[in-house]
């Protein structure tokens, strides 16, 4: 009966901290690596009598991510309390969203080594994070708790079980991270715990008599905090499921064993059982009476939608397919949203995406690297820089002058390219008779080199070219110089 190869069937739950200045329900700052319990107040400590007040920015960022994932925003989202006792959760309930999340039915396109894949998104919802419990070192019989993280806005994104392998799981998580960073929704620094992945793994093991698919029991791996561990844990689990299933094909099934929760030991590369189905929590969800339901205002949602930039993957493909950029250039120019925005504005101004890309790659990126600055700190607007590009495109100055003379002066003085060219008299000439006179003089004083060229030494042409440009103080149009030189040398 198990003729068909079992198909890994994986859904991921990803939690990410939203990039808000303050916590979800109070004014405490969201900060990492600060003294334990320094960013706390009665509200996030769950003191008697306190009430939550929704952070509007958290809501906006959550909606932004939901829209970017193509989710539908239902007319009403509500908040619910999820109950469980643990010392890192001061109220002993977490404010979350249970049956009416703020975003449903979206998808994320990812690029794997096997080609593009589309992963469905079941839901996106907002909840509050818990604190951190640290157990005494050396076996002391106490624990300490840091509640700085308590109440940090947390976005949970639940995928459909559309992921079919370990690499896909990793790429899905990476792509989600890239998207969140790109949108300014979260920093997703996994070392800081700003993003956590929980894959739910099962194998599809054929179908029953009615044609309904059958599965191995679902195992959920909790709190993976690196992309590498996502891939390793899923690889491990797929192999473990296979072994267990082969050992007991009748018993190792979802309907018999249900779902279990497992941890991951990264150093050993193994997962371990934390909680079986029998120990499953009853969270006693019920609507949070201290918050009013969220009814998204259509105009507000449309404003958020308008500010969502093209996603990196869409931009990258457009640069390759429409503008003819190389995969490499397109990748560099879309990796950072602000660089992509700058390039887009420049391309629009000079009306040539490829030319804009060349200037970005050769000049702008180089300056950013040399000065170790971000594009946001680059002193020239795309329009100011575009004026320089246009001066070259229309042959007013040559590429070299632009790069070596005008651009450094623009950066130093803040003057426009046009002003500098005018003040310094840098405009090149295409006047053939004037250039011919210069070329004649160069050939006369460098007769030996001209002879070398005619004798077959091709490199000598470049030297004559250089001498002619120098004699014109760089102002001669190189194309014209080249044509005249070639004619004179009988080339």
């Amino acid at each position: 009966m198990s003729a068909a190869e079992p198909v890994p069937t994986i859904g991921l739950e990803v939690h990410m901290h939203l990039k808000t200045r303050t916590k979800m329900f109070c004014g405490c700052k969201v900060e990492y690596d600060v003294r334990p319990n320094s960013n706390v107040c009665p509200v996030c400590l769950g003191m008697p009598g306190v009430l939550p007040v929704m952070n509007g920015k958290a809501l906006e960022l959550a909606v932004r991510m939901a829209l970017a994932l193509g989710c539908t925003l239902p007319g009403l989202a509500k908040w619910d309390r999820k109950h469980y006792y643990y010392p890192d959760l001061p109220k002993n309930y977490q404010i979350s969203e249970y049956d009416q999340p703020l975003g449903v039915k979206g998808c994320l396109d990812i690029e794997t080594s096997q080609g593009p894949r589309r992963i469905g998104i079941i839901r996106v919802h907002l909840e509050e994070d818990a604190g951190k419990l640290m157990h005494a070192e050396g076996g002391g019989n106490y624990s300490v708790v840091d509640l700085n993280r308590t109440g940090t806005p947390l976005l949970e994104i639940v995928s459909e079980p559309d992921v079919h392998g370990a690499e896909e799981a990793r790429v899905y998580a990476e792509t989600l991270r890239q998207l969140a960073v790109y949108l300014g929704v979260g920093d997703c620094n996994m070392q800081l715990g700003q993003m956590r992945c929980e894959p739910n793994i099962s194998l599809c093991i054929g179908a029953d008599a009615q044609g309904k698919p059958r599965y191995t029991p679902i195992s959920e791996i909790k709190n993976l905090n690196s992309f590498r561990s996502v891939e390793r844990a899923v690889t491990f689990e797929i192999a473990r499921h296979r072994e267990e299933y082969e050992a007991d094909p009748a018993g190792y099934t979802l309907e018999k064993q249900g779902k279990s929760t497992r941890g991951w030991r990264d150093d050993e590369g193994v997962s371990f059982l934390q909680r079986s189905k029998e120990e499953a929590h009853d969270y006693r969800y019920f609507p949070e009476p201290d918050l009013v339901p969220f009814v998204p205002d259509r105009q507000w949602v449309e404003e958020i939608r308008r500010t969502i930039p093209d996603l990196p993957e869409i931009r990258r493909r457009r640069l390759i397919n429409d503008a003819g950029l190389s995969e490499y250039d397109a990748g560099v120019l879309t990796a950072d949203r602000l660089i992509a925005d700058y390039h887009e504005a420049l391309a629009e101004y000079v009306r040539d995406a490829k030319m804009a890309a060349n200037w970005m790659m050769q000049d702008v990126m180089q300056i950013l690297n040399e000065r170790k600055i971000a594009i946001s700190e680059f002193p020239l607007t795309p329009q100011a820089f575009g004026d320089l590009v246009n001066l070259v495109a229309s042959a007013v100055i040559n590429r070299n002058t632009a790069r070596e003379v005008v651009l450094p002066r623009m950066l130093a003085t803040g003057k426009s390219a046009g002003e500098i060219v005018k003040e310094e008299g840098l405009a090149q000439t295409s006047d053939e008779s004037a250039i011919e006179a210069i070329v004649d003089q160069v050939l006369a004083t460098n007769a030996k080199i001209a002879e070398d060229y005619k004798g077959g030494k091709k490199a000598a042409f470049g030297r004559l070219m250089g001498e002619s440009m120098k004699a014109s103080s760089g102002k001669a149009n190189p194309q014209v110089v080249k044509a005249i030189l070639a004619r004179k040398l009988g080339g």
Binding site: P42, L45, G46, M47, G49
Partner: protein, 493 residues
């Protein structure tokens, strides 16, 4: 005439005219508390030094010509489920909060301070406001000033008794299912539950979040109006508080509401009502008729048959969640004999909570459990909507609804403690206003032959507190009930 015989409005006027100082008013209250409270036990804690300091500061500011606020120099008591910083305890009458000090002031406490009130102490209640007799207090029962062998009602029994015994002119209570109105009726004072959302709940220790509402106690309607005005209004820290302007409830208070159609629900005079209560309340309705009001028989089909059942599912469900935080980990009582973390949770809660609180946590936990949620909690919400609709339909025909506040006058201490259901029925006429989120008031309307006060309940639609107070005042002016003091006060004088 003793300063404690003055109403809050009279004290306000006397202080404004410099006939009385804030210190004198505070000293008068502290003396009365010292003399009578050992018998009544209305207060869980008093703050004589803080009160005196505050009163002296008010007097200084008044002398300097400053505008000190609506309640300048008026002594006030606060139910001990509202947080007060400054080192005074906030216990909710529970062992589990023994020793805890709130690090912040509740919104209403901030308001009282901003309006110049002098908070002299915190009053007793049923633990976490769960009860109708103020017997469920870990720190002992409060007694009814009219008869020390009887309960003052609850859960705000401490505040009601303190006002009735003239220990303070005004006090704050909280009403989740009748916890202001029922003790007001049993103690012969005015007590009002405003519309849900009228007063911020920030700093009110939650019992049932969708039902809890803070409101005023006073001996007169005007005093209740004054205290409501000082505490009502939007607070951004409470998402359920409403952005409705707060009118000056004292202005126009003397103007009768005319024409006035009074809905008299059949269900409020049904089986279980004490005959003396019924006849006294019917006499009160006759007074309104004489004043030109029309009595309109109405029906609220869901409001008595189902309101207690609905209330005890909604309130206990929310309570089971709200009280989950008391676990001995971060603050409050922690057991000392536990073996591990789970054991610490269990022992701290088992030792820290009283029986009634445990009963309600268990009921609520059960109602929210997987497999029972739809049959209990969800159904209760559906019935709650029907109850709300009963009132909407009624208010299309009448301006207010009247009936008894409580089916019986004050009962004996210990009479109902062994029978939780009998105790729950004390609130049969009051819970529906909480479920419908509307406003209600109880005013004194007479006495039993044995000298126990009886309360008239008046209910109006959302955010019509101004009209509700005027309707109450019409009756108060015609009758002298609010002037009568319990014998214990007269004996002491």
């Amino acid at each position: 005439m003793a300063v404690t015989d003055l109403t809050a409005c009279e004290i306000r006027k006397a202080i404004a005219e410099r006939r009385l100082s804030a210190v004198e008013a505070t000293e008068g209250c502290l003396r009365a508390i010292g003399r009578l409270d050992p018998k009544i036990k209305a207060f869980l804690s008093t703050d004589p030094d803080g009160g005196r300091r505050r009163a002296a500061e008010i007097d200084r500011r008044l002398a300097a010509g400053e505008n000190v606020g609506l309640l300048a120099g008026i002594p006030v008591a606060v139910k001990d489920n509202m947080c007060t910083a400054d080192g005074q305890p906030t216990t909710c009458a529970s062992r589990i909060l023994g020793g805890w000090r709130a690090p912040y002031d509740a919104h209403v406490v901030e308001r009282l301070k901003a309006e110049g009130a002098v908070i002299v102490g915190k009053t007793n209640l049923d633990e976490f406001a769960m009860g109708s007799s103020t017997e469920n207090s870990a720190y002992g029962a409060t007694r009814n000033p009219w008869d020390l062998g009887r309960v003052p009602g609850g859960s705000s029994g401490g505040s009601a008794a303190a006002v009735a015994a003239r220990l303070v002119p005004i006090a704050l209570g909280s009403d989740t299912g009748g916890s202001i109105r029922q003790p007001a009726a049993l103690c012969g004072v005015v007590g009002m539950k405003p519309t849900y959302g009228r007063v911020s709940r920030y700093g009110l220790v939650a019992f049932a979040s969708s039902l809890d509402q803070i409101g005023p106690f006073g001996r007169t309607v005007a005093d209740a109006a004054l205290l409501l005005r000082a505490t009502a209004g939007h607070d951004p820290r409470d998402s359920t508080s409403v952005r409705e302007p707060v009118p000056d409830y004292l202005e126009g208070l003397e103007e009768p509401v005319r024409p006035l159609r009074i809905g008299v629900p059949r269900e409020f005079f049904s089986a279980g009502i004490d005959p003396e209560v019924e006849s006294v309340v019917r006499e009160a309705l006759a007074v309104y008729e004489r004043l030109g009001a029309a009595l309109v028989p109405i029906t609220l089909p869901h409001s008595t048959d189902y309101s207690i059942a609905t209330y005890y599912i909604v309130a206990t469900s929310e309570a089971s969640s709200n009280l989950a935080r008391y676990d001995g980990v971060h603050y409050g009582y922690r057991s000392s004999d536990h073996t591990d973390m789970i054991d610490m949770y269990m022992r701290s809660r088992a030792q820290g909570f009283g029986d009634e609180v445990k009963r309600r946590i268990m009921l609520g936990t059960y109602a929210l459990s997987s497999g029972y949620y739809d049959a209990y909690y969800k159904k209760a919400l559906a019935v709650r909507r029907l109850i709300r609709r009963d009132f909407e339909q009624a208010f299309a025909k009448v301006d207010c609804i009247m009936g008894p506040t409580s089916p019986t006058p004050a009962f004996h201490v210990g009479e109902r403690t062994a029978d939780p259901l009998a105790m729950y029925l004390s609130d049969v006429y009051t819970v529906s206003a909480n479920l419908a989120a509307i406003a209600g008031i109880s005013i004194p309307c007479g006495f039993t032959a044995g000298g126990l006060p009886i309360g008239l309940q008046i209910i109006t639609d959302v955010f019509t507190e101004g009209r509700l107070l005027r309707i109450a005042r019409m009756y108060e002016r015609e009758t002298g009930w609010t002037k009568r003091a319990p014998p214990i006060v007269e004996d002491a004088a």
